[in-house]
């Protein structure tokens, strides 16, 4: 029988749009409504190409085994490892991450989430400077100036502009798009930039310089250069003047700031700029990172609640230790310290840099992942789970740290269990082996 399930939160990006409609026929997803094209693919593809049974690599080939054997092998690998890494956590529920923290403690490993590869530097800067932020609902109701810096929401968060920031009508912004000004800072003329009122096309890699110039002007210093970051100084002065004529501004920033030279320092100056804007100009200004996966904010929140640190938490000394640059996933792999890794709800094959992957290929990798992704080429144990938000429920946090309950739409395949059960089983066995 065909039925429509309404108000389904979409388990793709940090927007966590919770107005999706999924059409289900006899435990099969046959269509969606309201979602973006990526969200649609997520649901449309969820049930296709799944692993039916767990697998273990024997003589260089992945071979089907029983669940029990896979749990046992995973627990052995983790318990025997000197410095295991538990990575991923961005596309699973907060409940699973809680068990993950316990597992990391039991095997004396490092737990790190994918935030390390997207907004890790932002978190470092926020710890240094604090972050004036808000919820997305407030942006919708109040913002009359929206700045997108180093991000391209038309591509990475397709419904962000239409649901939260630019197009919707809000309590104090009754005319929707017409009552807001949009500024985009990006070295390319992106699809977001094409929709903006002002596109500042800066020279690649000069974001830090441009923010500093903004601060210079706000603090009443003279800009002595004629052009800064490829932009004429006069244009920068005019931009600041125009920005000051608004009541409530929000700065959304993305990988453009965190993935280039400077990293957390870029965010540092951006936060200082916001502080000074609030102090001297009088426009209420906040900033918000554009979080990538749907529960990457939740992984930071949960790991922080469990251990006291947001990511890269090392349990090798028996207590949680946090030292970005030393205990972050990329660095421990880069230096070749890790001797086993558990990957859950992430895809190292598409996101890890070359040298980290080169080391990962040499060590045992336990992969809790339903589909055949690239890292299966180097996995030693594969355990297919039920997909959170499609086949089991759980809690996820939106990019503004608002918790949202994920929905179960269809039943999972026979041998696929929720992440919480899989991790619980591995944890039980690890405690026996250690």
């Amino acid at each position: 029988m065909m039925r429509e399930i309404k108000n389904v939160p979409c388990p793709f990006c940090g927007c966590l749009c919770d107005d999706g409609v999924v059409i289900v026929d006899d435990n099969k997803i046959i269509g969606t409504r309201n979602l973006c094209r990526i969200g649609h693919q997520k649901f449309a593809h969820a049930q296709k190409g799944r692993f039916e049974t767990p697998q273990i690599r024997k003589n260089g080939k992945l071979e089907p085994v029983s669940l029990d054997e896979a749990f046992d092998k995973s627990a052995q690998i983790l318990a025997n490892a000197e410095r295991p890494l538990l990575y991923g956590w961005c596309s699973t529920s907060a409940e699973a991450i809680q068990i993950g923290c316990e597992l990391a403690e039991a095997c004396g490993g490092i737990i790190d989430c994918t935030a390390t590869l997207c907004h890790g530097p932002s978190l470092l800067a926020i710890q240094d400077q604090g972050a004036p932020s808000c919820t997305l609902g407030e942006v919708m109701n109040r913002a009359d100036l929206v700045i997108y810096w180093g991000c391209n929401p038309m591509h990475a968060h397709p419904r962000h502009m239409s649901r939260y920031s630019v197009f919707p009508r809000g309590l104090f912004r009754k005319r929707g798009r017409r009552s807001r000004t949009i500024i985009v800072v990006d070295p390319r003329r992106t699809d977001t930039a094409k929709l903006a009122d002002l596109h500042i096309q800066i020279a690649p890699g000069s974001d830090h310089m441009l923010v500093h110039t903004f601060r210079e002007i706000i603090n009443s210093y003279d800009v002595t250069h004629e052009t800064v970051a490829g932009i004429p100084a006069d244009a920068i002065r005019e931009t600041i003047e125009a920005m000051g004529q608004h009541q409530w501004a929000v700065l959304f920033f993305g990988m453009g700031l965190t993935q280039q030279m400077g990293k957390d320092r870029n965010i540092d100056v951006a936060i200082k700029f916001i502080h000074e804007f609030n102090k001297y100009i009088g426009t209420k200004t906040v900033l918000m990172p554009m979080r990538g996966h749907y529960n990457v904010a939740g992984s930071n929140v949960t790991i922080c609640a469990e251990t006291g640190h947001p990511f890269a938490v090392d349990f090798s000394r028996g207590y949680p230790r946090y030292h970005p640059g030393e205990t972050t996933a990329m660095d421990v792999l880069y230096r070749g310290e890790v001797d086993a890794m558990l990957n859950i709800a992430a895809n190292p094959g598409t996101s890890f840099s070359n040298r980290a992957l080169a080391h990962l290929a040499k060590i045992p990798l336990i992969n809790i992942e339903p589909h055949n992704q690239q890292s299966m080429q180097i996995s030693d144990v594969v355990i297919p789970p039920a997909i959170v938000g499609v086949e089991c429920d759980g809690t996820a946090y939106r990019m503004d740290n608002i918790p949202i309950k994920m929905k179960k739409i269809v039943d999972p395949p026979e041998n696929s269990m929720p992440d919480t059960v899989i991790l619980g089983e591995i944890l039980k066995r690890v405690k026996e082996y250690v």
Binding site: I38, Q41, R188, D191, M255, K263, M330, G349, S353, N354
Partner: protein, 144 residues
């Protein structure tokens, strides 16, 4: 010719990754380098020509495409994924994040074949091809 390489997301990459990493959608979306139309003309490249993108950290063969996000002269863009990661700067400068943007790179036309997603992981990492080439470039041990 020398360029600045940036990597990042595109909507087709997002769609491809959800449609499955072995899907054609993903291959089309990610095994590419997007260039400004003027730069394509200057290099004498046509749409879908195979080009080798080379940085200090590695080299990878992908298809040249005219950018839909042009103009961005002097900047080339690769969607975040298996192919882009072969050439990014792996060191993190004590932040946990590799440099994925603003990397000096060169491109040249080539006759070599573009590898598939699974094949690329196998050849570059499982068989150690990336490590060998990085050692040839003398950059494996002194990457900063």
């Amino acid at each position: 010719m020398e360029f600045i390489l940036s990597t990042g997301r595109s909507i087709w990459q997002g769609e491809g990754i959800e449609a499955g990493c072995d899907s054609e959608l993903y291959f089309d979306a990610c095994a590419r380098v997007e260039m400004d139309p003027d730069d394509m003309e200057r290099l004498g490249l046509k749409e879908n020509d195979a080009v080798k993108v080379k940085t200090r950290y590695g080299e990878v063969v992908v298809y040249a495409k005219t950018s839909t996000q042009a103009p961005h002269r002097g900047l080339i863009f690769m969607p975040f994924g298996t192919w882009a990661n072969v050439v990014v700067q792996p060191s993190t400068e004590c932040t946990g994040m590799p440099n994925c943007k603003c990397i000096p790179a060169t491109t040249e036309k080539t006759d070599e074949r573009v590898l598939g997603a699974h094949e690329a992981i196998k050849i570059y990492y499982a068989d150690g091809e990336w490590g060998k080439r990085a050692e040839e470039l003398k950059s494996y041990y002194d990457i900063h």
